[in-house]
């Protein structure tokens, strides 16, 4: 039977949102607040804006409906808590069909996630904060992966440019860092080349001396 319980969340900018219990419970923080007895009135979320909460709720709803349809494809379960679940089978389906459905479900979810997380930086950071505060693990992991993907493969200067970060090292400090982390300014391709060269013994004596000097800190 569909659960009739509904909760109201209020954001820091004064807007209210109604959500089902199953959707609310995706957030461990909200779940705890409800279990501690705070669900009867508005649940205040002073750290979350309405713009971000909309995104969060979108995620939670998708999470619940995806969970429901995965139960169906994995064990032919008839339970249908959520009104907008994908499948409405009335009887168990054969294994082969279930596998195909499961694959389709996973594919669809991936596509949905890619679109969902294609947001600009500020929204991404706010979403990270909200996912952390509301303790929604899946969302936090997804957003963190997106942020990491924006860092991977970039030199420090490129990272700074991407996120508009100021280089606050003094020239001496930075020189020190450069010496210690000799691979700093290499792109992944350059680094890979160097690694292979080391493995295949292809350095000239001069090159090798150069590398030895740069990495002297590691040997001395």
């Amino acid at each position: 039977m569909a659960s009739a319980k509904v909760f109201v969340l209020r954001t820091c900018d004064g807007e209210t949102f109604e959500i089902d219990e199953s959707v609310a419970y995706v957030s461990e923080t909200i779940k705890n607040m409800i279990e501690d007895g705070f669900g009867h009135d508005l649940i205040p979320l002073p750290n979350v804006s309405s713009k971000i909460l909309l995104k969060v709720i979108e995620y939670c709803r998708k999470h619940v409906s995806n969970f429901e349809s995965s139960k169906k494809t994995s064990n032919g379960d008839e339970k249908d808590k959520d009104n907008d679940s994908w499948k409405k089978e009335k009887e168990a389906v054969p294994e082969v069909e279930k596998d195909a459905e499961e694959k389709a479900r996973v594919e669809e979810l991936k596509e949905w996630e890619t679109t969902f997380i294609d947001i600009d930086q500020q929204v991404l950071f706010d979403l990270l904060q909200a996912a952390n505060y509301l303790n929604i693990k899946g969302l936090l992991v997804m957003a963190a992966e997106k942020a990491a993907s924006m860092i991977r493969g970039k030199t420090p200067e490129q990272i700074r440019e991407t996120f508009n970060i100021k280089n606050d090292f003094t020239p001496e400090e930075y020189e020190d860092i450069r010496k210690k982390d000799a691979m700093n300014d290499f792109t992944p391709e350059e680094y890979e080349e160097i690694r292979k060269k080391i493995a295949d013994n292809h350095f000239t004596p001069e090159e090798y001396e150069q590398i030895r000097k740069e990495n002297a800190w590691a040997i001395e």
Partner: protein
């Protein structure tokens, strides 16, 4: 937050760690640590040796100098790369326990002083003489760990009149190894005094810390080691020296601890140490460097690491005396500018030898 400021400190430690730990390539982590001061402070570098750095079989045919340089550079780099974390794998034994198993040493792994059902702490047996010490022995997550600090919270008996705090006067730490390895989860649990006798007979300590005074306060007290220490063997002991609190009921002195935390950097599975023969006699251990082991998500248990021996293994033999110099070199790389203590002997005595497992080429790797 405007576009001009740095998002990593703004997001806070937890969230930033979530992001940075997704950077598997060590090159990415190294570059990230050069972005700005706040990024560098996160110190999140973990070396994922799942990526194949040693490209081909020709690696085993390197000239000695190039090979040495490479491995040492990686060794030192990986030491700066591991995240500091809680290093205790399990509790081994306590010198005495009152009310076993309710007040057993396992409770010290639980950060709170109470769980839902009951209070969570270890208690010694009572003594009339307050000078009688106690020892808690733990196994660390890796046979090689660089330990920086240990935190201990004494237990405050909130259910006793006056809420007494059963701290010790002072604490001291020992690190080392067991001559005969103790099987994890063996019958020791049923006989706490037997396991303690076993520890007394078999534990060899390679390091003793200075004494730190302990406050009689119900707080997690941090004892920072004067310099980071490489624990070889994965066994750490907490010595609780002197008792301060008498229990009103029986007039005896007790020591009770609610939490022990050991912070440092585990070095496995990239580096492993095994002891040859009886370490006490010949002082030889083998340092194994394995660039191909997949980094596992959970702390490496010694049995699992041994069973996953890869096909390519760099084997270094270390002399006992040389181990000290090796530790120092690692720690130099780890923290930067730790002063080298001349007691460790000249370079000739370093005795670090690299070979390919068949012990043919005994070349000195003295730098």
């Amino acid at each position: 937050m405007g576009n001009c400021s740095d998002f990593l400190p703004w997001l806070g430690t937890d969230v930033s760690m979530q992001i940075l730990t997704k950077l598997d390539d060590p090159a990415d982590l190294v570059r990230a640590s050069a972005v700005s001061r706040s990024w560098r402070e996160f110190d999140v570098m973990e070396l994922n040796n799942g990526t194949d750095e040693v490209g081909s079989n020709s690696s085993l045919e390197w000239g000695s100098l190039k090979r040495d340089y490479r491995v040492y550079a990686l060794l030192a780099h990986s030491f700066t790369s591991f995240r500091r974390k809680d290093c205790i794998l399990e509790a081994i034994s306590a010198s005495s326990t009152d009310n076993y198993p309710e007040e057993s040493i396992d409770n010290t792994l639980e950060p709170d002083d109470r769980t839902e059902e009951r209070a969570s702490y270890w208690s010694s047996e009572g003594e009339g003489n307050p000078a009688v010490p106690e020892t808690l022995t733990y196994r660390l997550v890796s046979g090689l760990c660089v330990i920086t600090e240990i935190s201990i919270q004494p237990f405050q008996a909130f259910f006793q009149f006056g809420c007494p705090i059963y701290s010790a006067k002072a604490v001291r730490f020992r690190m080392g190894y067991l001559m005969e390895p103790l099987e994890s989860g063996s019958d020791r649990m049923d006989e706490p005094s037997a396991s303690h006798r076993y520890i007394e007979d078999n534990f060899i300590s390679t390091y003793v810390s200075p004494e730190f005074p302990m406050a009689q306060e119900n707080s997690l007290q941090k004892f920072k080691l004067p310099e980071p220490v490489l624990c070889i063997g994965g066994v750490l002991q907490v010595e609780l020296l002197g008792r301060v609190q008498r229990q009103e009921m029986d007039g005896l002195f007790y020591i009770c601890v609610s939490h022990v935390k050991v912070v440092g950097r585990p070095l496995s599975p990239t580096f492993e140490v095994t002891f040859l023969d009886r370490p006490g006699k010949t002082g030889n251990c083998i340092l194994k460097y394995n660039p191909n082991v997949e980094r596992s998500m959970s702390p490496a248990r010694s049995s699992e690491v041994e069973s996953s021996l890869p096909s390519r293994l760099r084997v270094f033999r270390l002399m006992q005396r040389g181990v000290r110099g090796w530790e120092q070199m690692i720690i130099n790389a780890l923290v930067g500018n730790v002063a080298f203590d001349g007691d460790y002997g000249s370079d000739d005595e370093l005795g670090i030898v690299a070979d390919d497992g068949d012990y043919e080429s005994d070349e000195e790797l003295v730098e």
